[in-house]
C-alpha cells in the first residue's frame, strides 16, 4: 500500500510541475497571442504582483502558521526602498528588486523579533498594527514625501528601457524565481523547520528546532518576497505615494489571496492572486461602473469559497478530484 501511495504522490508531484510549466509557457506566449492588447499585459503584470505578494504571505501564514494581516507594510517597504534608491542613487529595476528585498527582509526580521512571543489572533492584530504603522510613517516622515509622492523615471533593465510588455516579462521572470524559491524552501530543512513550528512549537523546540532563529527567518524571507512585489508595484506605475501604500487594503487582499487559494500549497497563491486581482477586471467586462459592486461580489465570493472549501480552492479541487476517482472506481485505494 505504501508503494502505491508513494507512486501516486510522485505522479501528483509530476503533474503539478507539468501544470506549472504549462502555466508559465502560456504566460510567456500570452502577450504575443492575437487580440491581446498592451493593457492586458499590464493587467497581467498586476496579477503577477498579487501572486508574488501572496507567495510571501504563504511562507509565513501557510507554512509557518503565523497569520499576517500586515504584508501591505512590507509591500510599502520594498516599494519605497527601491524608489528612494532609484531617485537618489539612480539604480535600475533589477538592482531595485535586490534593494527592496534586502530592506524588506531586514524590517521583517526586526518585526519577527518584536513579535517573538505572539501567535494566533494576537499575531494577526500585531501585524495589522504594523501595516498601519508603516502607513503613518510614510505619511509623516519627510523623506517619503507623503501624499505628494515620488515620481520615478522610465524603467531600465541592464541599460535597456522597457515598456509595458518588457515590464511584463521582467515581472514574470521575477515570479518564476520566487516560485522556484518557495518550492525549494518548503522542501528544504528550513521549510520543514517552519512546518514543525506551525504544527507544534513546543514539539519542534523539543526536537531541536531553534524557534527564535526560524521564526525570524520565516518573517524575513516572507517579507523579502512581498518586498519584491512592492518594488514591481512601484516601478509599474513609476510612482509611489502614501495615498497608495498607506492603504490597508493590500494587507487584507494578500491574506485573502493566500487563504482563498490554499495557504500551504504552491499553486494556492496563483489561484488566490487571480481571485483578488482579476475579479474586479472580470466584473468590469459586464458592468460599467464596477468599483463598489466588485467589492460586494468579491466579499460574497470569498465567503462562498470559505463555506464550500475552507482549506482553499486548490485543496478543495484536489479533494473533489479524489472523491470523483473513488466514486468512479479508480484503480488505487
Amino acid at each position: 500500500m505504501a508503494d502505491i501511495n508513494a507512486a501516486f504522490k510522485a505522479k501528483m508531484v509530476q503533474r503539478k510541475w507539468a501544470a506549472m510549466g504549462v502555466l508559465f509557457l502560456a504566460a510567456v506566449i500570452f502577450p504575443m497571442a492575437p487580440g491581446v492588447e498592451s493593457w492586458m499585459a499590464s493587467e497581467a503584470t498586476l496579477i503577477i504582483m498579487y501572486i508574488m505578494a501572496a507567495q510571501g504571505v504563504s511562507i509565513l501564514t501557510g507554512y509557518t502558521g503565523l497569520v499576517t494581516v500586515g504584508h501591505g507594510g512590507f509591500l510599502a517597504v520594498g516599494a519605497y526602498a527601491s524608489a528612494l534608491s532609484t531617485k537618489y542613487l539612480g539604480t535600475d529595476l533589477i538592482t531595485g528588486m535586490f534593494v527592496g528585498a534586502a530592506m524588506s527582509a531586514f524590517v521583517g526580521w526586526a518585526l519577527g523579533l518584536v513579535f517573538l512571543r505572539l501567535s494566533g489572533a494576537f499575531m494577526a492584530i500585531g501585524t495589522l498594527g504594523f501595516a498601519f504603522f508603516v502607513g503613518t510613517v510614510v505619511n509623516n516622515v519627510p523623506i517619503f514625501e507623503g501624499r505628494e509622492g515620488i515620481s520615478l523615471p522610465k524603467n531600465h533593465v541592464i541599460g535597456f528601457e522597457i515598456g509595458d510588455i518588457g515590464f511584463y516579462y521582467t515581472a514574470l521572470a521575477a515570479l518564476g524565481v520566487t516560485t522556484l524559491f518557495v518550492s525549494l524552501l518548503v522542501r528544504s530543512g528550513v521549510g520543514r523547520a517552519f512546518m514543525a513550528l506551525r504544527d507544534s512549537e513546543k514539539a519542534a523546540e523539543a526536537s531541536g528546532v531553534n524557534r527564535v532563529f526560524y521564526r525570524t527567518l520565516a518573517f524575513s524571507l516572507s517579507a523579502a518576497v512581498t518586498g519584491v512585489a512592492g518594488v514591481l508595484f512601484a516601478h509599474y506605475v513609476n510612482y509611489v505615494s502614501s495615498e497608495v501604500f498607506a492603504d490597508i487594503w493590500y494587507s487584507v487582499d494578500f491574506l485573502v489571496a493566500t487563504v482563498v487559494g490554499g495557504s500551504a500549497v504552491l499553486l494556492g497563491p496563483f489561484v488566490g492572486g487571480l481571485f483578488v486581482a482579476f475579479l474586479p477586471t472580470f466584473i468590469e467586462l459586464f458592468v460599467d461602473q464596477p468599483g463598489d459592486l466588485a467589492f460586494i461580489i468579491k466579499g460574497g465570493a470569498l465567503i462562498f469559497v470559505l463555506i464550500v472549501a475552507p482549506a482553499g480552492v486548490v485543496v478543495g479541487l484536489v479533494q473533489l478530484f479524489r472523491w470523483l476517482r473513488g466514486k468512479l472506481g479508480g484503480d488505487t485505494q
Binding site: 489572533a121 494576537f122 494577526a124 492584530i125 498601519f132 485573502v256 461580489i297 470569498l302 470559505l306 463555506i307
Partner: protein, 289 residues
C-alpha cells in the same frame, strides 16, 4: 492644558471602548476576530445620517433606528455567514469577516458614495467648565452614553439569565451545552450585542470623524489594541485599555504635535505585544487559539 487633553482623551477613549468590548465579546464566545466590527458601526452611522437627513428623524429616533438596524446586521452576519463555518479554524472565521468587510464597504460605497459626509452636530458646541478644565459638551455627552452602556452591560452580564448563560458559554461551551444552555442562541445574541455596540460606536463618533466608508478603519485598530490590553478576554481590561489609548494619543497629540497622535496608538500595540503579549492584566483562563 493637561486636564483638558486628559478629559477629551477620556471621551474619545470611551468611544473606542465600545468597539473594543464588542471585539472581546465576539472573540471569546466564537473565536472570531471580527474585522467587520468597524463596518457595522460605519453602516450604523450611515443609517442614522440617512434617517436624519432624508426622513427628518430627530437624533434619538435616528440613533434608535441605527441600533435596531445594526443588531439586525449582526444577527444576519451570524445566521448567513458565521454559522455555516462555525467549526472551522479561526483563520477561516477571520477571513470570513474579511469577506463581510469587503461587502459592507462595497454596499456603503455603492449606496452612499465614497466621499466624506458631515454628521449634524446635535449638541451646543460651546464648551463648558468642568473642574477647571474647559471641554466641549459633546465629550461629556459621549462619556455619559458610554458609561450608561457600560452599566447596561454590567447588569446584563451580572444579573440576567442570558448574560450569565453567555459567560458560561465563554468559559466552556461544551459544558454549557450539556447544562441545557442554548449555545447557538447565545452565539446569535453575541453577534446581536456586537451590532448593538457598533451602532452606538458609529453614531456617537460620527460628528468627530465624519461619515465615510473608511471612517472606522483606524478606530477598529484602536479597538483591537484595547482588546489586547484585556488579553482578548477581559471586558474591564479592554475598557481600561481603550481609555488609556484615548488619553495617551491625545496627550501625545497635544504636547508633541498632531503627527504623533496616530503613531501613539500603534507604538502602544508594538510595546504591549512585545512585552505583555497576552494583555496587561493577569488572565487566569484563556482559550488557546
Amino acid at each position: 492644558m493637561f486636564g483638558q487633553l486628559f478629559i477629551s482623551g477620556l471621551a474619545t477613549g470611551s468611544l473606542y471602548a465600545l468597539t473594543a468590548v464588542a471585539v472581546v465579546v465576539v472573540f471569546r464566545n466564537t473565536r472570531t476576530i471580527n474585522l467587520a466590527q468597524g463596518d457595522f458601526s460605519m453602516i450604523g452611522a450611515f443609517v442614522a445620517l440617512v434617517l436624519i437627513k432624508s426622513f427628518a428623524f430627530n437624533y434619538y429616533f435616528a440613533l434608535a433606528g441605527s441600533v435596531v438596524f445594526c443588531i439586525g446586521l449582526g444577527i444576519l452576519a451570524e445566521r448567513v455567514v458565521m454559522r455555516q463555518i462555525a467549526d472551522s479554524d479561526w483563520l477561516t472565521l477571520f477571513t470570513a469577516t474579511l469577506g463581510m468587510y469587503y461587502i459592507l464597504h462595497g454596499v456603503a460605497g455603492h449606496f452612499w458614495g465614497r466621499d466624506t459626509k458631515a454628521f449634524p452636530l446635535t449638541f451646543d458646541p460651546t464648551p463648558i467648565n468642568v473642574f477647571g478644565g474647559i471641554i466641549s459638551q459633546g465629550h461629556v455627552v459621549n462619556m455619559a452614553w458610554a458609561a450608561a452602556i457600560g452599566l447596561v452591560l454590567f447588569i446584563f452580564f451580572k444579573y440576567t439569565k442570558q448574560g450569565i448563560a453567555m459567560r458560561a458559554v465563554t468559559d466552556d461551551p461544551e459544558t454549557a451545552a450539556l447544562m441545557g444552555i442554548p449555545v447557538r442562541f447565545i452565539v446569535l445574541l453575541t453577534w446581536g450585542m456586537a451590532g448593538f455596540l457598533a451602532a452606538f460606536a458609529g453614531v456617537l463618533i460620527a460628528p468627530i470623524i465624519y461619515v465615510s466608508p473608511e471612517m472606522m478603519d483606524e478606530v477598529l485598530i484602536k479597538g483591537y489594541v484595547a482588546a489586547v490590553f484585556g488579553g482578548l478576554y477581559s471586558i474591564p481590561g479592554a475598557i481600561i485599555g481603550a481609555l488609556l489609548i484615548g488619553i495617551c494619543e491625545n496627550l501625545a497629540g497635544g504636547y508633541l504635535g498632531s503627527h504623533f497622535k496616530t503613531v501613539t496608538a500603534f507604538a502602544m500595540i508594538v510595546l504591549l505585544l512585545a512585552f505583555r503579549p497576552h494583555g496587561l492584566f493577569g488572565i487566569q483562563k484563556r482559550r488557546e487559539v
